[in-house]
Each structure stands twice: as C-alpha cells, then as structure tokens.
Symmetry: C2
Subunit: 155 residues, 2 copies
DNA sequence: ATGTATGCAAACCATTTGCAATGAC
DNA sequence: GTCATTGCAAATGGTTTGCATACAT
C-alpha cells in the first residue's frame, strides 16, 4: 500500500482513539505518529528524537514517551525488548508480520518472515486470554559472531 | 527427572564452563546456581536476592548479576523481558519449553505450552544464523483485565 | 604469591514524575 | 476560562562499574 495512504489511515485511527479517550489532538502527537510511520524499521526513543530534531520538529522526551504509550495502547506501534534495557519500537499498522533474530554477541536484530508460523499462531485459541499481538524472538549468533565465538573458545 | 539429579547435572555443566573459560569456582557462583534451580518458575534479581537471604546465603547484587551473566552464557538460564525494564529469568536446563502470555494491563505472566509449535520452530533452518534459544511472547489481556477494559471504554 | 572475584557504594542511563507554563477545547 | 498537555529538570530504579579487600588457584 502507498505510504501516504497508510499515514492517512493511521492518523484517522489515532484521531478516533484520542476522541474515544477524551484526549486532546495536539500537533505534537500527530508529529510523533507521522515520524513513527516514516521510520523504515525499528527505532528507539533516542533515534526517533534525533530524527524528529533533524526534521526540525522538536518534542521533549517526556512527550515522546507519553505519545508512544498512547500509540501502543491503540496498537499503532509495537514495542520490543531484545535483552537490553533499551526498548525498540516499530509501526504496527500494515507492517508485514515478522519475527526477530537477535545476535547475542553483537546485538544485531534481523527480521525473519515466516507466514506459515504466522498463520499457525494466529489460528490458536487460548482460553481465558485475548491476544492482541505477539512476538517471536530467536536468540543466537549471526554468522560473523559465530566465527568470532569459535575462535575465542579456543583460547 | 529428579530435582537433585538435575542440580547435579547443571552443577557439572557449570563447572565445565568455568574451567573452559578459566573462571574460578567460587562458593557464591554455585550458591546462585543452586538457588536458581530451586526456583519454581520465573524470578527476578530482587526475588532471587531475597530468597537467597532468606536461606541465609548472602551474596551482593553485583555478584548476582555477574553470575547470572555466566549462567546465561552457558545456557543454564534464560532471560525474559516482558515489556517492563525489569528482567525476568528462569532455569533453562530440563525446563519444559513454554511460551508466555503477558497481560498488558496487570502484567500477569502465564506459561503456555505448545509442543507442536516447539517442534515446528526447532525444525526451521535459518541461513546465516545459529539459533540458541527462542521466546514466543503473546501480549493481550487476561480475563479479569478484559472485563475491566470493557467497562473503562464505556466511560 | 598472583590475580580473579567479591561487596560496597557510586555511577549510569532509559524511563518516569512533578510542576509551572502553554494551548486545545 | 478551564484543565489536559507540554517542556524542563529532577527523581527513580534496575543494572553496571570502580575499587579496596578477600580468597581460589
């Protein structure tokens, strides 16, 4: 789908959510949404803050966190934690579902698509629990670090 | 398998790892391993610290973190982060594989077994990546919070 | 004897919070 | 005009680090 079309739709969804919750429709909130949906893949608060600054839209970290919580609540953003205490985020609407491969040594995160798995997980019915989203994280070593590890273990 | 038998084996594995890495076999390290394998399910650093204190084995937080890193490195412990900046851990050896259901509202974490999924994921070959372990986290609302949410959204 | 591991306290750093000023309604 | 939201700076809290002491080798 067209990127502008997607932005249009998520803006609409966000507006509905803000109205539902009785929250104000501030320019800061829409700017954050706009920038989040301009990011190609994962980002963290610092990188988002920097990229918004670079595009001359200055919001405080406090507002960034506040707005991100709203976006998480209305499922327009998904949050990830890959083992470190730095949260990663990515847009959730119209973002092809993918799992994550995380290198335990260098921290590299790769996306890994598996539609069979997606279908399987989504077909599952879990009693007494209403799933909203999920994440599959596969931890291991990327090819580069696997080589380094081998070498290191010889010492 | 018998709990004492498991402790015996992991102790053995830990010893091998410490020797491989040229690390010292200190009583603190074995005490941490022992306590970790006495925990029924998930725990965090604070709860482990408390439970070790309660059993009159006092280790510093620094040593706890240091030792946990070693146990992670040799795959005797698995680390989880359920969306908050508090890491959870659980023993990894002979611990039936299970996925996690996390309630976004109250933070409750439930285990959820699915052996078909386990088999499926483990059969996957991923190029240029060597998997060591993985985690499937399903976020949503538990039955209690789903009810509360419904009510809240009416306001 | 040597140098790694420990305990303590301080430092770190992502995230949260308190509060005065701003601005959406 | 009212009160939610913002920006700033300070606080929080899990984790990490520096360093003197203890102890495994």
């Amino acid at each position: 789908m067209d990127k502008d079309k997607i932005k249009e739709i998520v803006k609409q969804k966000f507006t509905e959510y803000l109205i539902l919750k009785g929250c104000r429709k501030t320019p800061e909130r829409y700017a954050v949404l706009e920038h989040v949906y301009s990011e190609a893949g994962h980002f963290n608060m610092d990188s988002l803050y920097e990229s918004m600054n670079a595009k001359n839209f200055r919001v405080s970290k406090a507002t960034l966190y506040n707005t991100m919580q709203l976006l998480l609540d209305c499922n327009l953003v998904q949050k990830h934690q890959f083992g470190k205490n730095l949260s990663h985020y990515e847009r959730a609407y119209n973002n092809d579902y993918h799992n994550h491969l995380i290198c335990l040594d260098c921290g590299l995160v790769e996306e890994y698509k598996d539609n069979d798995l997606k279908t399987y997980i989504q077909s599952k019915k879990i009693k007494k629990f209403t799933p909203i989203h999920y994440g599959l994280y596969i931890y291991g070593t990327c090819s580069k670090c696997a080589a380094k590890r081998k070498k290191r273990n010889k010492n």
